[in-house]
Subunit: 211 residues, 2 copies
DNA sequence: TAACATTGAGTGGTCAGACCACTTTGTAAT
DNA sequence: ATTACAAAGTGGTCTGACCACTCAATGTTA
């Protein structure tokens, strides 16, 4: 069973003391050492590669990669999102993550530290202001990397409105929201966020009011 | 690249409308249809198998399996969850989804319909009361299938506390929470939920107070 | 007719060998 | 010393060949 090979590979990596970034034995050598065919070794290696545990470079070899780069979310998303036909669900879940980021920021002491808002302010003041950039900044500030990853994926599925830029109305709201966040006013922040959503919604229905 | 084949396989599954438990085309047929060698198809299939997305039975064929059975968690958790920050992220994201479900229920008109609460009540009144079942019911009622799926995955990472049963204290809170939900009281519901989280937290630190 | 045994087609599991494209390294010519 | 070329090594892919197994059609027997 090729699962056995996966196991043996892990054992071999451990015994050999292969460290992150270092090279593994070649496929042909592994096949000989594990006493199996090369194709069997490859099936195991490709599985580990799909998981993001190893990295292969043609002509060079196979390397142990940093598993902090794991592709868990990416992988699962392709299978989860495929059946979730409802765009509405994607939207709602994405908005959930955004709102929670806002709440987290307000409830933590983070919002008091001025330097945190620097990047945010810069993005909001320069032209053009891309929605995606602003929201991403908010989630980064909230500090939950997993949320950020999930959000990033959902955003890709959500498509349009995020890739375009904010109009004057939206920017006004976000300036208020920034202020509200800095003062840790949760209720007000959420209200402003909802107000922004409402604006986006109307814009989408009315057609090309943007740009 | 074999990643391309993984992608194409997904597409094929979708186009063909293969459902969970049903049989996929044979490796030889797939090779012919995708215009690649059988070994390449196998590398892709074995990867999906390691993820638990398909199941192969010698002499019979390859079958689409329920993604909920995937062993990804077991495989990756040893690598990923070593940093305590990761664990915390998982917890927080999971709680985010749970809270949002509560909010959604309160804000919709759903909570007024009595029949919705039947399954919930049954689960809460019978013994033993498994935490996981209750929360799942809440998210189902909220109606966001995508959230449910993401939550399901995170729950597996979260591990312990969810698989055991509630004690008397917890059940009391949940009876109140149920009542609060039925009346659409958002603030109160969230407060009760937080109270429950606090209880779980304390229980975890104090050790084996449950069962 | 019913129960059993046999056979063959189809399937995944594995292997060996052959190319290909690419990278690295060693070697020879300049 | 630099450059140009050749060779070895590596992953990527395909082919064909077995094996072990399952299942269903077929044939055989009671």
């Amino acid at each position: 069973m090729f699962l056995e090979i996966v196991k043996q590979l892990r054992q071999l990596i451990q015994d050999e003391g292969v460290r992150v970034g270092e090279k593994l034995p070649s496929e042909r050598e592994l096949a000989e050492r594990l006493q199996v065919g090369r194709s069997t070794v490859r099936e195991a290696l490709r599985s580990l590669e799909l998981l993001g545990l190893i990295e292969t470079r043609r002509g060079e070899g196979t390397f142990l990669s940093d598993f902090r780069k794991h592709q868990l979310v990416e992988l699962l998303s392709t299978f989860i999102l495929q059946e979730s036909k409802s765009k509405e669900d994607v939207h709602l879940t994405r908005e959930t993550l955004e709102k929670e980021a806002i709440r987290t920021i307000c409830q933590s002491e983070q919002h008091q530290k001025h330097f945190i808002w620097e990047a945010f302010l810069v993005k909001l003041q320069q032209e053009p202001v891309i929605r995606e950039d602003i929201i991403r900044e908010i989630i980064i500030i909230s500090g939950n990397r997993l949320s950020l990853k999930v959000w990033f994926l959902l955003k890709q599925f959500a498509g349009e409105p995020y890739q375009s830029e904010m109009n004057v109305e939206e920017k006004t709201i976000w300036m208020q929201l920034l202020n509200s966040l800095q003062n840790g006013k949760e209720q007000l922040s959420i209200s402003l966020y909802h107000e922004w959503l409402f604006l986006m919604d109307r814009r989408e229905k009315n057609g090309s009011r943007s740009i």
